[in-house]
């Protein structure tokens, strides 16, 4: 007696967790609380959210409301215990709901189709009845072929007064919904794996330097290899200051050996041993602006060339000539307006170098050479100084991520796509065709049934009926 009562209580809980009503409740709770999380800025400074609240509710209410929402964890709500609990309930709901229904759906999907009496076939929403001439044998082939024409391969049963053709297709499409639900669990599992065993951090690597340490979430991750930044560069659209591409040339060094080289851009990261490096920011190494290395390709007018690495104040000779250049000035972002040069930004938007040229002690000419403007590389005497790079002054900011769960998440996404496609665009269709022998032919009764998208099946059955009718005319 007592046991039975217990069981019914457990049943009640089970049914509650298996219900769509509960699912819809969870959807509502997750959606509604998420709204609050988009209004209050997450993990922001206190002052910021007090300001947000005072814009909505007024100055006087804001501090009190802040304390209230803060106590409930809304300032970092997607990580709060109650939001995670909602997600867990969501998952439990999905699992229980699937376990609850799967046996029935499984049998619906695997059950073989069985012959039906005439009255039942006529009760289907999609049905047809007409007479048709011909011998039973020729009709048998005709129906099989016509059914094939609309995509059904029938099995045939002999009956007292004739034949019955049976076919079903798409029976496993009934499982599409379960695949969709299951994929959600996979995605949640992948996110969990990422959260438990993954790492998210940031590292800055200056041009020509190496690093093996990333910082994130108050933690420090030491990699067992080094990343070297060989170069960093911003490419711009035309002569504008609109960035087109940020690019870092990286080398991975393990046990003193270079094991990988790749240039990364914003949408094209580097992955080594499960750790991925994303181009995320850049900047100037402090106090380095005057100490970089100028890389010039110097070409004399008769084609002799050499590549030079120079510093501020250095002199160099153009190969095969007596022309000497001396680097006198540098600007990271130079613009010339009304003949007046001035530096318009402190980032390396438009690097320019001022060089003074002499020949045997006599001053020849001097001027600004721009990295981004090849026209300025050409000297009046036919020699050329190509300004390739100003190196060693910028660092690249790399987002560093290790997430062993990401493939699980992707797998879940693929399953979800397949599941949704099946759930919405495929259906379980069944077809019955009964031939009842008569004097010079047969009466034919067609019935069909589907779990969704009846219109499509209706059109197929129309086609089947018209094929049977027209063929019969041709036979006469």
């Amino acid at each position: 007696m007592k046991q039975e009562k217990n069981k019914s209580f457990i049943d009640k809980i089970w049914n509650f967790f298996a219900s769509v009503r509960f699912a819809v409740l969870i959807f509502t709770l997750i959606a509604a609380t998420s709204v609050v999380g988009t209004v209050l800025e997450q993990r922001a400074e206190q002052a910021k959210n007090i300001q947000v609240l005072s814009r909505i509710f007024g100055e006087s209410a804001a501090p009190g409301l802040y304390t209230f929402f803060n106590a409930l964890g809304f300032m970092d709500m997607y990580r709060s215990w109650w939001f995670l609990a909602l997600l867990v309930l969501f998952a439990v709901n999905l699992i229980v709901c699937s376990l609850d229904r799967l046996p029935r759906i499984w049998s619906l999907a695997t059950e073989p189709i069985s012959p039906l009496p005439e009255e039942t076939i006529k009760k289907f929403l999609i049905h047809k009845e007409f007479t048709i001439k011909g011998s039973m044998d020729s009709l048998r082939d005709l129906v099989l072929k016509a059914a094939k024409g609309i995509g059904f391969s029938c099995s045939v049963r002999e009956e007292e007064k004739g034949l019955q053709f049976l076919a079903q297709k798409g029976n496993y499409s009934r499982l599409g919904v379960y695949l969709t639900h299951f994929s959600i669990l996979i995605i949640l599992a992948g996110a969990l794996v990422g959260g438990e065993f993954g790492f998210k951090g940031f590292m800055e690597v200056g041009e020509g330097t190496v690093s093996n340490t990333a910082f994130g979430g108050g933690k420090e991750l030491n990699l067992d290899f080094y990343v070297r930044c060989d170069n960093f560069d911003v490419e711009f659209y035309g002569m504008s200051d609109m960035p087109k591409e940020y690019r870092s040339w990286l080398t991975v060094i393990k046990n003193g050996k270079e094991v990988m080289k790749k240039s990364i851009t914003v949408n094209d990261p580097l992955t080594y041993e499960g750790i991925t490096f994303y181009q995320s920011s850049y900047g100037l190494i402090p106090n380095s602006l005057g100490n970089g290395i100028f890389i010039f390709s110097v070409v004399s007018k008769d084609g002799k060339s050499s590549v030079l690495n120079l510093r501020m104040g250095d002199s160099f000779q153009i190969p095969g000539t007596n022309v000497t250049g001396k680097i006198q000035n540098f600007s990271p972002a130079l613009r010339i307006m009304n003949g007046q040069p001035f530096t318009y930004a402190d980032m390396m938007n438009n690097p320019a170098v001022f060089i003074d040229f002499t020949e045997a002690g006599k001053h020849l000419f001097s001027g600004w050479i721009f990295k981004r403007n090849p026209e300025t590389w050409q000297l009046p005497d036919g020699n050329r100084v190509e300004f390739d790079n100003y190196w060693g002054v910028e660092y690249t900011g790399l987002q560093v991520r290790k997430d062993p769960g990401v493939w699980v998440v992707y797998l879940g996404c693929i399953l979800m796509s397949i599941g949704l496609f099946i759930a919405f665009f495929m259906s379980h269709q069944k077809l019955w065709v009964k031939l009842v022998q008569e004097k010079s032919g047969a009466r034919i009764i067609i019935g069909a049934n589907t779990n969704k998208n009846r219109g499509a099946l209706e059109r197929k059955i129309e086609k089947l009926a018209s094929v049977l009718n027209s063929r019969q005319g041709g036979d006469k």
Binding site: K48, V52, V409
Partner: protein, 360 residues
């Protein structure tokens, strides 16, 4: 820049079509309906030409090849694409169901979007892509998102019509709900229409850059006009509530049945939901993962997409619950599309305003 000529033609055509469809609904004269359909088709064809031309212009300008130059990189282009999908979807439904009464509920959505583009001074220039946007995932993400938004917009229109046809009593929640939504819709159309006219007549070109939305009503510099706008809005809501039942009688004359509306609403969502899931959520996540190494970061835009997704999941499952099929889930479908709008506009216009330090 021939593309802007064709865009202009299509905008004019859609706004004319909207007025024609509403007239048709009111007077049920077949020729008006035919003209409305023709004008809509003309608008759609010239918009198609405009989009192709712009695509070509962009490819020439950026030199990035045809695939990378799909004109879907900014607010203006994406909204325009949304309207294109919406009108296409609408035309399909009109031909499938041989019924023009839907036009009066769906073309105004297109009209509102187009007016919004003009009034907010959304930049129509072709702009080069910033590095983060150079991704094929992003392209698939944006294209599919807007196709699904258009499908959701259709379900919004038919869901609203369903509520109009099935709410009998003026005190019913569903009647209150639909008159409220339709009232807001009407207020937006009228205020944006007024904005549009005054803005075309008197604004100097340099002011184009600044948003002109609601500057002649709710955000007018004169407090008198502001108060008047709010009072007028309340009046509109009251009038729609008072006389809304007339719409039901009108729709009944057009042999639309609630069943048919429910069917179209479900079908639109059944198309929109998988496309939104794959394009909107999954491709968006893959892109974020490739660009920044986080597939989900709970930023407001992502979160609002997820909220939208849950609302439509609610709709799909709600249909299976006893006592929910019909009016209640139609309300959910209508709310779903308001969430879509908020995801796309509200997050940028309202939330970023709230979050910005020191503005106002």
């Amino acid at each position: 820049m021939e593309s802007s000529l064709f865009f202009g033609i299509s905008t004019m055509a859609y706004i004319t079509a909207m007025m024609l469809y509403i007239t048709y609904l009111a007077f049920k004269k077949a020729p008006i309906g035919m003209v409305a359909t023709t004008v809509t088709i003309v608008g759609w064809v010239s918009q198609t030409i405009a989009i192709l031309l712009r695509w070509h212009e962009f490819a020439d300008l950026s030199g990035m090849g045809i695939l990378r130059s799909v004109p879907l990189t900014n607010l203006y282009e994406s909204m325009s694409f949304f309207v294109w999908c919406l009108i296409l979807g609408y035309l399909v439904i009109e031909f499938r169901f041989k019924n023009r009464s839907f036009g009066a509920f769906i073309t105004p959505i297109a009209g509102l979007v187009l007016a919004f583009i003009d009034l907010t001074g959304v930049s129509k220039e072709i702009q080069p892509l910033v590095p983060a946007l150079k991704s094929n995932w992003l392209l698939a993400h944006v294209t599919m998102s807007f196709i699904s938004y258009a499908a959701f917009a259709l379900s919004f229109g038919t869901g609203l019509m369903y509520l109009i046809m099935t709410s009998e009593k003026k005190t019913e929640p569903s009647y209150l709900f639909w008159t409220f939504i339709l009232g807001i819709f009407a207020i937006l159309i009228v205020t944006m229409g007024i904005d549009f006219l005054t803005f075309k007549v008197k604004v100097r070109p340099e002011e184009f850059i600044k948003s002109y939305l609601f500057k002649t009503s709710f955000m007018s510099p004169s407090s008198g006009i502001r108060i008047l706008s709010w009072v007028a809005s309340l009046a509109v809501l009251a009038i729609v509530w008072q006389y809304g039942y007339i719409l039901r009688r009108i729709l009944e004359k057009f042999s639309v049945t609630p069943n048919m509306l429910d069917e179209i609403t479900y079908r639109s969502i059944a198309v929109g939901f998988p496309i939104f899931t794959l394009g909107g959520l999954i491709f968006g996540a893959i892109w974020a993962d490739q660009a920044w190494g986080v597939y989900w970061s709970w930023d407001p835009k992502e979160t609002w997409s997820l909220i939208t997704w849950f609302i439509y999941a609610f709709y799909l499952h709600g249909r299976m619950m006893r006592g929910w099929k019909g009016k209640k889930v139609a309300i959910v479908a209508v709310i779903g599309f308001t969430a879509v709008i908020f995801t796309y506009l509200g997050v940028n216009l309202l939330l970023s305003g709230l979050h910005s330090y020191g503005s106002q």
